[in-house]
Each structure stands twice: as C-alpha cells, then as structure tokens.
Symmetry: C2
Subunit: 339 residues, 2 copies
C-alpha cells in the first residue's frame, strides 16, 4: 500500500538479499550471483532463487551494492537549462548509448549560473558518477578542481576551446556566427542586425554574436542594430525585439538571431507587420530546431549536431573506439526560404 508523503524507509519492511536466500534455502552469495552473474549458478539453484525473488518482490538495493563494489553505473549530465529542446537532445543522445550499457543518467540544472554549476557539481559528485558530461567550457576554478579531483572522465560538450578539463566535444560558435553573416552578405543583404537574448549569461551565444560582428567588420560593415531582449519565452522575446527595432531604429534588411526561437518570433512579427520574408527582410537563426523547417517560409539556420554530441560524449566516457580528446563536430548552414 502506498503511503502519505515522503518519509524514511527503515520503519517499513524491506526485502533483502538475506531474506531471499533464506526463502530459497541458499547462501546470500548465490542470490547475489543469480542477479549479477547468473551464468555462474547452476540451473537448479537459479530457478529456486528466481522464484524466491519473484515471490518476495525483491529489488536489489543499489546503495549497498555500490558501496560494496565501488561501481555506480551512474553518469551525470550537467546542463544550463531544462526548458530548451536543445539540451534534451543531448541528453537523449547520451541516453541512447548509456542505457543499453546499463548506465543510469542523472541530469542536473545550473540555470546558466557558474556559481550554481559549482554547487551542482559538488552535490552530484556525492553520487559518485563514473563519468560527467558538462555543458560548455566556462567554469569556475572550484568546478574544475572538483571535476579534476574526482578522477573520472569528464566531457565538456557543446563548445570547443578553452583549457579542457579532460575531453572536449563541440563546435566553434564563433565560426557559426561568422558563417551566418557570410551567408547573408553573399545573398546581397547589407543592413544587418543582431538579435540576442540572455546574452550576459549565455557564453556560447556571446561567441556567435562575436563571430557575426567579426564577419561584418571583415566586410567593412557594422551592425545596424545589435540588441538583446530578455523574456520568459524566447519566441516572444524575438517578436518584441524586432518590434522595438522596427519602431525606434534605422532600417535593416537582415537579422541574425542567436537562436531559432528568437528567429521564429521575429518571423511572426515581421509577417504581422506586412513585411515579406525574405524580400523585405531576411532571417537566419541558430540550432535548426524541428519547428524551423515547418514554419512558412522555412527558416534558414545553422544546425548543431546536438544528439550526435550526446552520443559522442557518452562514447567518449565509455572509452569506446578510442576517440580523440578533442572532437569538432562542426555545424551546417541550412539555407531555406527565410533568406
């Protein structure tokens, strides 16, 4: 019977190895073996034990097991946000590799704060993960120290660069920003603007913006507008930012949005204002979300191989295939209707 509210377990009966062993009339090690290395037990005893396990509804206690064996089969993934589909895909990619190998993933959220990341890291290391996948390359010294001292494989994912703690899998966000401008310039646009969100806390977004500005400078141009507009929902922030930019500023004929959400917000707002995309306004985003190819016109964007990064990160942790310590997964500009 279920029970009101959370409370400790000790006051209730728990089925243990020993009880299963007694029930089956065998030693506890036999039960342990039936569960962990069934091939090492005779069919006869195995059957008896399995029946006892079933009858008692025995579920092995991982705390006891891990304490005794020093194996946890746990991998933690540290992400800056639980909302975006972006991080969900990394997690999913990692899970696809890890689950079949018997690993459990534990996800923790830093809310884009380096200080919280350090706290999260400390908390999470108490679970003695056998590997850590952490987002980005910017961390406090304390976080680095913790991770280094843990003596487990660590993958810094999403972005390339910095002074890697261990393994680094990602792409150059600066190059991606640069690719966005180059594309717009090539298409003939000259009055380019940048729209960002949460720029103070999102280092990867900052680097995409920097790449954009670099590219403009290289072409002897400068941004017509360069704004960041925070908001609870990125789509709305995009719409609001574009509205502000149109209402108060000089004309722009192309915008680079630091994310597809913003870009789709801009697209909607532009259409509401009667602008034709891409004739009057070109829009390019970043991420290539599923929805980006569904909107009309479809959104030109830069695809980051998120799921692949998750998979590679997991494989790197497992030491599969002798992967390099540094893997550039690259990005791909997907030209579509919006430019």
């Amino acid at each position: 019977m279920a029970v009101d509210g959370i409370h400790t377990k000790r006051d209730r009966e728990t089925v243990t190895l020993k009880q299963v062993a007694e029930r089956a009339g065998v030693g506890i090690m036999t039960v342990s073996r039936v569960i962990n290395t069934p091939e090492a037990v005779s069919d006869k005893l195995k059957a008896r034990v399995n029946e006892a396990v079933r009858e008692l509804g025995y579920v092995p206690n991982r705390y006891a097991g891990s304490l005794a064996s020093a194996r946890t089969s746990l991998v933690t993934v540290i992400v800056p946000s639980l909302s975006g589909r972006v991080f969900g895909e990394i997690i999913k990619g990692a899970d696809e590799i890890l689950s079949p190998r018997g690993y459990q993933i534990m996800v923790s959220n830093t809310a884009y704060s380096l200080e919280d990341e350090e706290l999260v890291c400390r908390r999470v290391l108490g679970w003695r993960p056998e590997g850590v996948i952490i987002s980005g390359i910017d961390h406090t010294e304390g976080t680095r120290r913790l991770l280094l001292d843990a003596e487990i494989p660590v993958v810094e994912a999403l972005e390339l660069g910095g002074n890697p703690i261990d393994i680094n899998i990602g792409l150059s966000h600066r190059d991606a920003g640069r690719a966005a401008v180059d594309h717009l310039l090539e298409r003939g646009y000259r009055q380019l603007s940048f729209i960002g969100a949460q720029m103070q806390i999102d280092f990867r977004a900052q680097r995409r913006r920097q790449g954009f500005l670099d590219g403009l400078a290289a072409a002897g141009l400068q941004a017509v507008h360069d704004i960041s507009f925070d908001g609870k929902v990125a789509f709305e922030a995009g719409a609001a930012a574009f509205a502000q930019l149109q209402d108060t500023g000089e004309a722009t004929d192309a915008v680079f949005c630091v994310s597809d959400e913003l870009a789709i917000g801009v697209l909607g707002e532009a259409q509401r204002r009667g602008l034709r995309v891409p004739q009057d306004l070109a829009i390019i985003g970043f991420n290539d979300l599923d929805v980006s190819s569904a909107v009309m016109p479809a959104l030109t964007t830069i695809r980051s191989p998120r799921k692949q990064m998750g998979r590679l990160a997991a494989q790197a942790l497992l030491g599969d295939g002798d992967l390099a310590k540094k893997i550039d997964v690259g990005f791909e500009l997907i030209p579509r209707g919006s430019t």
Copy 2:
C-alpha cells in the same frame, strides 16, 4: 587528474570521513555532524573540520549515507519520451519544488512502451526513491505491483482516471478533444478531420481523438478524415498527413491535430498550398507550446498546465498542503488566429 574511460574507483584514493576526522583531529561523528547538523557542533571544531574538508576536497559518499540512514532524497520521474518539450516542462516544474528541498530528480524514459515501463520501474526502484512521478494511468499489472510494494508515494500525472495507484494529477484528455470539436463547430466549420501521430502507443492522444469523435457524433456529424501519420519529426508528419489528406480525399474545412507539432506542420503545408488559414482551413492543436503563439497565424490550441502538474506532483509527494489524492488541473482552450 582525469582518467581514460570509465573504471572502478576502488583502485584510486578516495577521501573519506575518517580521513577528514584524522586531519582535523576529531572523531568521525563530529565531521558527520558538521556536514549534516552543523548547529550541533562547537564553532571551534566546526572551523577545524571545515578546513580539513576543504583541504582534502572531501565530498560525502551518498551510498554510504543512504545505506546507513535509509534516506535517499531521490525522486524519480518516469516519462514516455525525452524528446518533447512537454515532458521537459513537467520535470522542470517538479524540479522547481524538489531541488530547493534537497531532493535530486532522476528521470527515466519508457519510450512509450508499457513493457519497458515495467523494466524501468524495477531498475529505478533499486535507487530507493522516496517518491515516484509516473506519466499516465495505463500500466502493466507488474508496474502497479512494484509501485504499490515500494510503499512510497506515487503520483500518476498528466491524465485523470483509471484506478489510481496512489495520487492522480491531470486532466481529462477526452474532454479536451471534445472541447476542440465544440470550438470548431461553434465557429461554423462542418467538414472536420482528425490528424494524429503514434496513435497506437499514445493513450492520451487516443482519448483526445475519442472526445473529438464523440463531439462530432453528438452533433450528428462524422469525421471527413481520421488519419494517423507517424514520422520521426511530428512537424513533418503533420505536413505529410495534410498533404495526403488533400491529395487523396474529400474536402475538409477544419482539422483537429492531436498535438501542436502536427498542427504547425499542417499550417505550413496548407500555406504552401496556397490555402488561407482560417478562411479556407481552420486548425486547432493541443498543448499550447511556446511556438504555437509565435507562428502566423497564431495557433488555436488547448493548453495543458504541464509545469503546474509537475509542481503539484512534487508537492503531493512531499505531503505539502494536504493535497487531495485526485487533482483535476483542467485545460484551457486558447482561441487564436488559426480558427
């Protein structure tokens, strides 16, 4: 120093309570108290211990702690999919309540399979969660048995009904489907169609469809089209389904899509075919994703309070505020431009 690939920890040095105690020149219980109940230790010893903890980089081992105390501070959330933003929001809502209270969330994925759900359940109970949040009300007998035997609070979330294991928080998806038809009929549409995806495995989607069909029947009508079109990406499935429906079938003037993703796919395809929405075609979805209000025209949809369900589920587990065993969070039809 980090290390190549995952391997066990025992071969490397680990800092334990005992080492900290020796370093600080106190008993191990004093160290334990400094960490768990610092108010019970004198300032002098507390300072010495904290210094030793810092110097050694001590991180308490949760396995030892939980084994000894029978408290895990773990809550597991079982979802059918890691991809959708839908489940991410439930998790986020739950995390907002649980994290500040010192609980760690562990997420597990059943891939919309009841059999996998049972396996996942068994695996996850080995971590001795102090509470479980599980999606939906459809489970195998084995799953029910496991959850009941665990003697911990269990919340079945997202959907109301069935024979609850313990606590049930959600909404009636059938009523939601019914609300969708009623809205379309009220707007004057008569040639209604249904577009679904993954209908065989998604019970909640089935119930929305049933509500839709019920509503039609009550009005003496029947669906022009009633199709399900699977695909890797729901947006694309929506577009493909609508294309098929247009190419091979009778005229329809309104479609109810079982999810917003499908609806946005339909919207894009309709626009590509030169149809005016909502004049030529009305579209209504389900979920109210962030993107749904950003597209042009904005999508009429039914909002389910996902984050709130996550929060309520967490609060119910904690026994907060003496919540009912059954909570109907309702839904809200949001009329927008697409109808």
